[in-house]
């Protein structure tokens, strides 16, 4: 997913002023993907939200000297999202790989033994991880994390 261009950045302007403009866009990128990512079948939305969370996390880490504790807390939240979505993505990759390998081996072949169990375990784990992610995201939304973060960073939408 390509990052949205941030308009009006000025290299000669203070770091904080530019950081506020960037934060506004990166926060919006994460939140726009939130509702679609509640659907476990929306693999692309989940993947894009992970990338958006990663961008927000790194931006807040880099701009921590501008915003102090709110940036540290925001980066921690974004990292939580990134980790949760990363684990889901890892399960998707692993499941696809194991299933692809199983398809190349006859069911009665010794080399098939265990592959079905491994794929089933990974897919079950993915369902659990997605439920945990939805719970985490709902909590973030209910607590008004976006509004507070934008206010603390001085970057209202």
């Amino acid at each position: 997913m390509k990052a949205r261009k941030v308009k009006g950045l000025d290299p000669d302007a203070p770091f904080r002023e530019n950081a506020q403009k960037m934060a506004r866009v990166r926060i919006d990128e994460v939140w726009r993907l939130g509702s679609r990512s509640r659907d476990p079948q929306q693999k692309e939305a989940l993947h894009n939200m992970r990338i958006a969370a990663k961008r927000l996390r790194y931006l807040l880490e880099i701009t921590e000297p501008c915003f102090g504790r709110p940036a540290t807390k925001g980066a921690k939240m974004a990292r939580g999202l990134q980790d949760a979505l990363g684990e889901i993505h890892d399960c998707d990759v692993m499941s696809e790989r194991v299933r692809a390998r199983a398809e190349t081996v006859a069911v009665d072949d010794e080399r098939y033994v265990g592959l079905e169990a491994l794929a089933t375990y990974v897919e079950a784990r993915r369902r659990v991880l997605h439920r945990q992610f939805v719970h985490f995201w709902s909590d973030i939304e209910q607590k008004g994390v976006r509004e507070r973060l934008e206010e603390d960073l001085g970057a209202p939408a």
């Binding site: 770091f15 961008r55 790194y58 501008c66 890892d90 072949d109 265990g114 169990a117 491994l118």
Partner: protein
């Protein structure tokens, strides 16, 4: 995971171009500080630390993109991405193997022949990943990537021609 180093002089009121120079200098030094011993397959954390440092550097380059001259920026970013990909090629099989081993530890040996063969593939990928990383590190040395990054950081301090 190695913590990011503090950047002396970085503050909210300095111009963004100065913040770009300071950040890219520090993050560049971090990446190359992990290069020694990174090909040692017995110490997988070294690869992880260098990968994390490379991600931080890449993120800094992208955040401060408007402060750099385009041609130099594009060439350096491409090489940093290639290095990141090579570190991923080495690290991803490590992670996949650890995950499979963790899951399959609960199965009796006779119920996992297929998984053993799958793990063999991952071991082959691990070796191939190390070769890819070795090439990428050699390329970074040949093309003086560290020096070019530091030069790019210095260029951020000079206003671009309008």
């Amino acid at each position: 995971m190695a913590r990011a180093r503090e950047i002396p002089g970085l503050g909210p009121d300095i111009p963004m171009r100065e913040a770009a120079a300071l950040t890219v200098q520090t993050r560049t030094s971090e990446v190359f500080a992990f290069a020694d011993g990174v090909l040692d397959t017995a110490d997988i954390e070294r690869v992880h630390d260098m990968r994390v440092a490379t991600r931080r550097l890449r993120a800094a380059l992208e955040v401060f993109r408007p402060c750099f001259p385009k041609p130099e920026f594009k060439a350096v970013l491409r090489d940093v991405k290639d290095l990141a990909d090579a570190l991923g090629a080495r690290r991803d099989p490590d992670v996949a193997l650890a995950a499979v081993e963790d899951i399959m530890a609960h199965l009796p040996p006779q119920a996992r022949a297929g998984v053993d063969a799958f793990e063999d593939d991952l071991h082959i990928e691990q070796v191939a990943g190390n070769a890819t990383l070795e090439q990428a590190l050699a390329h970074a040395t040949e093309t003086q990537l560290e020096a070019r990054l530091l030069e790019l950081a210095a260029l951020a301090r000079t206003p671009l021609p309008t």
